[in-house]
Symmetry: C2
Subunit: 149 residues, 2 copies
Amino acid sequence: MSPTRTTSETAPVEALRLDRQLCFALYGAANRMQRLYRPLLDALGLTYPQYLAMLALWEQSPRSVGALGEALDLDSSTLTPLLKRLEAAGLVSRTRDPQDERRVIVTLTDAGAALRDRALTVPEQIFCQVGLPLDELTALRDKLKTVAS
Amino acid sequence: MSPTRTTSETAPVEALRLDRQLCFALYGAANRMQRLYRPLLDALGLTYPQYLAMLALWEQSPRSVGALGEALDLDSSTLTPLLKRLEAAGLVSRTRDPQDERRVIVTLTDAGAALRDRALTVPEQIFCQVGLPLDELTALRDKLKTVAS
DNA sequence: AGCGATTTAATCGCGTACGATTTAAATTCA
DNA sequence: TGAATTTAAATCGTACGCGATTAAATCGCT
């Protein structure tokens, strides 16, 4: 009755089991979350990371690339192309800081500021699909903030 | 004493605050986790998603692309190029299933199976850096599995 | 003032993710 | 049986992430 041994279900090494990995749970949840947002953000003409950048800018608008990167934990090699696309979409402007020409200042355009109104319903729509009670969601979010940071 | 009004800290719309978003906590934690793994996986010659694919294959080796995609929640447009790179690295072989020529069967090579030994210490090394007690890590992992799935 | 060190973005290369489409093989069923 | 449908992978295009490097501006120090 021993299983056929053509497949190598090599003696379960517990430490390496996929379903035991926090990293995989995180990876999967992050991917699924992005898929959940996609249809809503498509309607706004934003990608998921662009949406996060807009959230940051809606909170505070003239910001340097560096400050934005700090807030999002992304560096300029990721942000620069993303911001150029937001600029091409007419949502932000990018100008050198006259006080310090190394810095690039990102500012919401009127269209970028206005887009916030259309984004207002997004969080609620996502919440409904996540399927966690608010208190658990909050606890999960706060626990995630402590992971490897 | 009101703040200067050149910056548009537009009246805090609670629902859109970055620090309130589960999606952003997830996004950040997933990115940070990947950065944590990078130096360890570099030593194994694997990327992070490749490592996850190898975890799945170490559990069960001849698997179709579809079955692997099911396990990882990825589709063939992501997996096919990834698996071709693992094949180029000599860790897996890819062959058409003779029983059903639509299917491609992915099998660990000897080198691929052997790599598991060198991966054995990875989970422990990561655990030390994540900074969560085991019971909290387990609870977090299991909660993540329920998110949007 | 001058010059090396530092800081800030941008650039480049590689490897994902994924929607949309394509190709080929297997299956259904008229 | 054979045409239409379904299924499995591959292909293609777009947009990340990020390590490594580069370029330009500023700072620090004598």
